[in-house]
Amino acid sequence: MSLLSISNLSLSIHGTQILERVSLSIEPGEIHGVIGESGSGKSMTAFSVMQLLPDGATCSGELRLDGQDVLHADEAALCAMRGERVGMVFQEPMTALNPLMTIGAQVAETVLIHENVSQAEAMRRAQDALERCELPADTFPMSRFPHELSGGQRQRVVIAMAIALRPKLLIADEPTTALDVTTQAEILSLIRKLVDEDGMGVMLITHDLAVVSGLADHITIMRNGVVVEQGEGATLYRDMTHPYTKALFAASSHQPDRTEAKADAALLRVENVTRSYALPRKAIFGAPKRFVAVDNVSFEIKRGESLGLVGESGCGKSTLTRAILGLEPLQGGVITLDGSPVLSGRQADLSVRRKMQVVFQDPYSSFNPRHKVGRLVAEPFYLLGRTATDEEIEVALTSVGLTPSDKVKYIHEFSGGQRQRIAIARALIIRPELIILDEAVSALDVSIRAQILDLLADLSKRFGLTYLFISHDLSVVRSITDRVLVMKAGKIVEEGATEDVFDTPHHPYTQALIDAVPKLPDLDGIDIGRS
């Protein structure tokens, strides 16, 4: 008998069908990857197991955990099950913990709820669970509050809460999506270790094929609430039959068709740039400490080149981006674009700014919801001191694959991928020389991401654009850049041609970073088809 067996599970919320006849089973000691893009129903499958569904949800089919009928269990039985036999880990560690309670008390709560033990005993068991999740008491005392921990550390606390009672099943819903790549690798290996120690089953939900490859024993691929393909982790990549699986796989390792830049003149030159902030005073006397976000950084981008800048959150890459745009005052060094400094005094030089534009990460907050697309796209014309003509707006929209009539629509009428196209149109409209892509494809599903990368490669060819491609996602950077810079704690630690850096990294940090990236199995000799 399986640990978890789901058969023909259907779920509707307020009459909208979310899941349709989903079946999957998980054995003890097995990691089962559930993969899908947004809207595939993968998270709702997890919440169905916990029976923590939104109001108005109705399930049908069969769902058994360790023989127990979950769909027909009453609330008391479900409460007894949750935390005791199934633990759950969530995507967003920053908000998953109660900000007002110590981490020790929160982990101990799992024990106190299910077992009739003393407070002291519960705290001892909590300490135990935290140790197993590699948060030792001497460096992370249980009296810490969540805000004193990093995202990865908080995720360990959430995992400690979930495994404190050694449940038979652990559900992990995108447990590493919000984390940096090195932290992601640590959390994934922690989950592997816990499985090996306890023999529990794991349902690992993710949008990232690479995360589960090499980790999952079984894989289920979902799309629009339906299971499209299932198979062994080791062989699914070879044996996949469903066109969607193939398309997903192709998109994940997508290589846009691009030609390498041959130009040699430097367009952007960053010389010994330093940007530091005053920290809030800790002591009443003495000068406030300063935080150095960008520390004596120098590099240049050649005309027509695509340069990657990779680094984990907090490494200073966003500050550097704003500095290049002339939005940050500098404490040292100079940034020049085409020979002219981007700053004149403390103000940005707008005649220099004309030659660069930027595309941001979040397609949802990048546009004023009250303006129509035509006005949104034309905003950079303010730099030229005139308004855009209808023709210019239409050309910009068409060049990113939209239609001229889209200019009279509001932004909420577009999907995330379309919005990112509009963002690119906005960057393109005044024909800048340099476009800064700040995590521009990070928020997109893999199939949409592949399309946007193609578009960027195509535009660069057509308009001779220069890209500064900033990302935490190494595989994307690898696919679209000629050269790459690796940034850590405000410094550039490695620089070189993309292929060289990825194949033979020299700096230990670069090596760690590249090692941490989950990899898809080698595709050589497999026909995955292109759709």
């Binding site: 939005l327 990460q361 990048s366 905003e379 950079p380 730099l383 906005r426």
Partner: protein, 270 residues
């Protein structure tokens, strides 16, 4: 949605009453008819008469003018000064200017409108105008705070960064990108302050710091009824219900508008 309709209907009823009173009231509210005093509601006088024989319905209609006018102007003062201050504080967040604006706001907050009215009245004597100023001053920090809070979160949006990349300055961004996205919030807050303004005007007039005779006012009608309402409860009931229903209507309309304008809040509210 039901709330919105009911709220707008109630509000419209009193606004209409106030407007009609400019051209017609059942009786002249200034004419005293002592022989006809303290009559309970009847066919001639629907809401009865007061201790001087004046028609209460007519007085309520005319009194609505005072209440509505005071509240509207006071909200206007609050928006007119508070919103620019809040936008400024948010645009230069963390600067000395921000600090000065917010500290002054805190200070005004320490003076409830009644205290402001007491001070102004002590200097210039009581009047409807002074009531407007007192309530209006108190509205300034309310709007400044609401505006600053919401504007600060809008300033972190990428579209603001995009506008900065396009070379736009803080003032232009505040006007083009921040203010339009605050409109919903300001409409809702405006409705709330409007209803609070009507309550405050009634309270000030009740203690004699608001509209002075012969300007009719709901609050003063209640004050004048104070010694007699045991004999003739209707002279207290009708002006009170006028205040209650107007404020209720505005609050319902405010809640309804919030639900209508902000779909995110609506989901939470249900």
């Amino acid at each position: 949605m039901r709330n919105l309709v009911l709220g707008i209907a109630l509000t419209a009823l009193f606004v209409l009453g106030a407007l009609v009173s400019f051209v017609w009231t059942p009786y002249d509210h200034t004419v005293l008819e002592i022989t006809n005093k303290l009559k309970p509601p009847n066919g001639d006088h629907w809401f009865g008469t007061d201790q001087y024989g004046r028609d209460i319905l007519s007085m309520i209609m005319v009194g609505a003018r005072t209440s509505i006018a005071v509240a509207i102007v006071a909200v206007g003062i609050g928006i007119g000064l508070g919103v620019p201050l809040g936008l400024t504080a948010a645009a230069w967040n963390g600067s000395v200017l921000d600090e000065i604006i917010m500290r002054s706001n805190d200070l005004i907050f320490a003076f409830p409108s009644l205290l402001i009215a007491i001070m102004i009245t002590a200097v210039y004597g009581p009047s409807a105008f002074n009531a407007i100023i007192a309530i209006g001053i108190f509205n300034i920090p309310v709007f400044a705070r609401v505006t600053r809070g919401a504007a600060l979160s809008l300033w972190t949006r990428d579209y603001v960064l995009a506008a900065r990349v396009s070379g736009k300055g803080a003032a232009r961004i505040s006007f083009e990108h921040i203010l339009p996205n605050l409109m919903n919030l300001l409409i809702v807050q405006g409705t709330i302050q409007f209803s609070l303004g009507i309550l405050a005007e009634a309270a000030l007039s009740y203690v004699g710091l608001g509209a002075q005779p012969p300007t009719p006012s709901w609050g003063r009608m209640l004050a004048e009824s104070q010694t007699l309402f045991m004999l003739a409860p209707h002279i207290t009931l009708f002006p009170g219900f006028a205040i209650l229903l107007t404020v209720l209507g505005l609050n319902l309309a405010g809640d309804g508008l919030r639900d209508l304008l902000d779909p995110k809040l609506r989901r939470v509210a249900r």
